[in-house]
Amino acid sequence: MSVMLYALSTCPYCRMTRKYLEENDVDFDLLEVDLLEGDERTAAIAKVKEISGGSSFPVIVIDDETIVGFNKKRIKELLGL
């Protein structure tokens, strides 16, 4: 199972999501989009827009499912926690 968290370093729900994943020993990749610069940042914003349809965070991709926002219930379901 692959878990990717697109986040902003400033966003409270991103922190909550990260904490939740860590507390549940979930192995995940993290990309803090606001800390990127130049082309990397532009590419990451475009990617988030493509998968979530917007520019709101966090965006969590679990295998091929996308969750926008800290929706604990759905994260739990998809991770089988």
Binding site: L8, P12, Y13, V33, D34, S55, S56, F57, V68, N71
Partner: protein, 222 residues
């Protein structure tokens, strides 16, 4: 008048979270919102905004990303409620949860659970006192351009766009229950959007008044 870059100065370097509260609260109030009831959470979000202010010169939403396009980024300056009225009214809070609808008692309960709202949403647009009797005013609610008219103590909402030449009806003239289009004088009944020009009626929206707030009903996600 000079054109060019938007003027960003609102808050100086010594700005505190208390300053932001003081500045934002009355504006949010006019939009039908108040700060979250969970004080610790409010402090956390505002502290993030201060960091963003120091880095960028404005209080952008901590939960949304800046694109670098000033027009787009203007829609994520906190409070960003006017740009997402429909969605936020459905969620009963702004995206971050920094602001919640005034009637929400427990703002903590709303944190984290973000599901796209669907169905009929009553969206606060302004207060009763903001629109005097016999006046009509434009409001943008999501993708809808709406004209809200007041006749006595009754409020009506109809499409802002005249079907003749797409003039903004909210710039027109009220005459009892009728609005005369500002461009060519077509008359619409604000109660049902009807006109005596065949096939040219405009859409209306249900409207409710809750406490001192005028709310326009929008259907989302259908």
């Amino acid at each position: 008048m000079s054109k060019g870059k938007p003027v960003r100065r609102r808050f100086d370097e010594s700005t505190t979270t208390a300053d932001l509260r003081k500045y934002m609260a009355p504006f949010a109030d006019r939009l039908g919102y108040k700060f979250n009831t969970d004080d610790e959470f409010v402090e956390e979000v505002l502290a993030s905004e201060i960091e963003i202010l120091d880095a960028t010169g404005d209080v952008f939403c901590p939960c949304r990303v800046r694109t670098g396009d000033p027009k787009e980024d203007a829609k994520i300056v906190c409070p960003c409620i006017p740009f997402y009225r429909d969605q936020f009214a459905g969620l009963k809070k702004c995206w971050c949860g920094l602001f919640i609808l005034k009637e929400v008692e427990d703002g903590l309960e709303l944190l984290g659970v973000i599901e796209e709202p669907t169905g009929d949403i009553d969206v606060p647009v302004f207060r009763v006192a903001d629109l005097p009797d016999g006046q009509i005013r434009h409001v943008k609610v999501g993708k809808h351009d709406i004209a809200v008219a007041r006749v006595g103590d009754e409020f009506f909402a109809l499409s802002n766009v005249c079907r003749h030449a797409f003039a903004p009806l909210a710039e027109g003239f009220m005459d009892g229950y009728y609005v005369m289009c500002p461009w060519h004088g077509w008359r619409y009944d604000v109660r049902d959007g009807s006109t005596d020009h065949p096939g040219a009626n405009v859409k209306t929206h249900d409207i409710t008044v809750v406490a001192d707030e005028v709310r326009v009903r929008i259907s989302l996600g259908r």
